[in-house]
Symmetry: C2
Subunit: 265 residues, 2 copies
């Protein structure tokens, strides 16, 4: 009997299981990353599965309505069943209600785009976006985008406020954890960023994901004081210069606190 390892647990807990479930979940997550979906070869590349296997799984998923095959682009995209299940699940996870007003205020007051991301296992996932008015905008971050915890401003502030043990565990094999983001986010840079973040309360990402695309983030905590999400803003470097950072940081912290209060109340 095979044992699969769970991605999110503190330790990889062996779970009796269904290889297929893990693979299917991975495929759906991959496809959900980009609104335009993913091509078969793309999925094969990123999942390290063989092409026939991916193809077969996708065909089955399509038969269930969980994915669609966009005839035009040839891409695989999330299907109607995912939407339906999601809208049922949404009753339990009403982030919109929770964070939308805050993001709107941030976007209005600053002109930058504002985001709310949540923690899922060892990743952050962007769930809400509110476009700013400033005419130059970054499209690195949008709903559905996932980063390893510690990457980008939201991930950075979350990692900074995670219990020391967990943080060190993640940093222990940082390169593997960070994957392709390791290039910009070297262990050294991240450690320095974490220290500064812990001090100020908010994080600053000086274009580590994409050069010129800056970001700042503040964490949202649950009742146990555990970071479960983050408010963040992104924009171009000139809008995130040192002199403006305290202003943006203050706003971010205010909104993060407000959301934290709502969440805990």
């Amino acid at each position: 009997m095979a044992r699969i390892t769970v991605p999110q647990g503190t330790q990889p807990i062996p779970v009796q299981g269904t290889q297929v479930v893990r693979r299917v979940a991975a495929l759906l997550r991959m496809i959900g990353r980009k609104p335009g979906g993913m091509s078969l070869p793309g999925l094969v590349r990123e999942t390290e599965l063989t092409r026939p296997t991916v193809h077969r799984l996708l065909a089955s998923l399509a038969a269930e309505g969980l994915v669609d095959h966009d005839a035009a682009s040839g891409n695989w995209i999330l299907g109607p069943e995912v939407f339906l299940l999601g809208s049922v699940a949404a009753a339990r996870f009403s982030f919109d209600e929770l964070a939308r007003p805050g993001l709107r205020r941030l976007a209005e007051e600053t002109g930058e785009s504002a985001f709310y991301s949540i923690v899922r296992g060892r990743e952050t996932v962007c769930v809400l976006r509110e476009e700013g008015t400033f005419p130059v905008r970054s499209f690195v971050l949008h709903e559905g985008v996932r980063f390893p915890v510690g990457v980008a401003s939201a991930g950075m502030v979350i990692l900074a406020f995670l219990p020391k043990e967990e943080r060190e565990e993640i940093l222990a094999d940082w390169d593997e954890h960070a994957g392709s983001f390791g290039a910009g986010h070297t262990l050294e840079i991240v450690r320095k960023g974490l220290a500064e973040t812990a001090l100020r309360g908010y994080s600053v990402n000086p274009g580590l994901v994409l050069e010129g695309s800056w970001g700042m983030g503040a964490a949202v905590f649950d009742r146990d004081g555990r970071p479960v999400g983050a408010v963040s803003m992104t924009g171009i470097e000139p809008r995130f210069r040192a002199e403006r950072q305290p202003f943006l940081g203050k706003l971010l912290l205010e909104e993060a606190h407000r959301i934290t209060a709502k969440l805990q109340g």
Copy 2:
């Protein structure tokens, strides 16, 4: 190699495949039916799988965040990943934008609760609900609820306007198709209802799902003239008496036409 048959196609098309995918999809749909989730025995009963199998699949799904195990009730509910994937998929399926305003108008003008359901394979799925002001309300229908096509007012009006071939195919093995709803929805009753629906344009469900819980529906069509959804209202019998039906029907048809226009435009 096993061949699985696809539930929605006109004919059961053999698909090479993944038994597990079908089972997992079935489980997720089942769990998504009720906001409070489902117990393991309940799932076992309705899926005709063995308990160990259901349990193992659920455990794997939980490890992926696709389901959660509610410690209090012991029920399995849809997990955060489903919400996340759903919110990405929502970009492609914006029924809220499409139908919400119409439902709101209906609820306000009539006092009854209004719903929007869509067709998925051979089922209708309720995706939107707008509560009416009338103090006695039925809770038979809510977001996520699925009925076989032909059952309840939405299903009835959809079946009525499906191409004759498909309609007859469904009616051919009605009892199997209708399952537990066959009790109220006998072939005879349904055929009569379909005829009347085709004539008037809107359907009337005189408490076939649950005695005293009436409903009326009007269909929404895509560019090819195929019914893809339905607007419906539910309430208690006294609110759906013969003399009020033309009034309600007219409103339903108006809103259904409006949605159809939006959809096609």
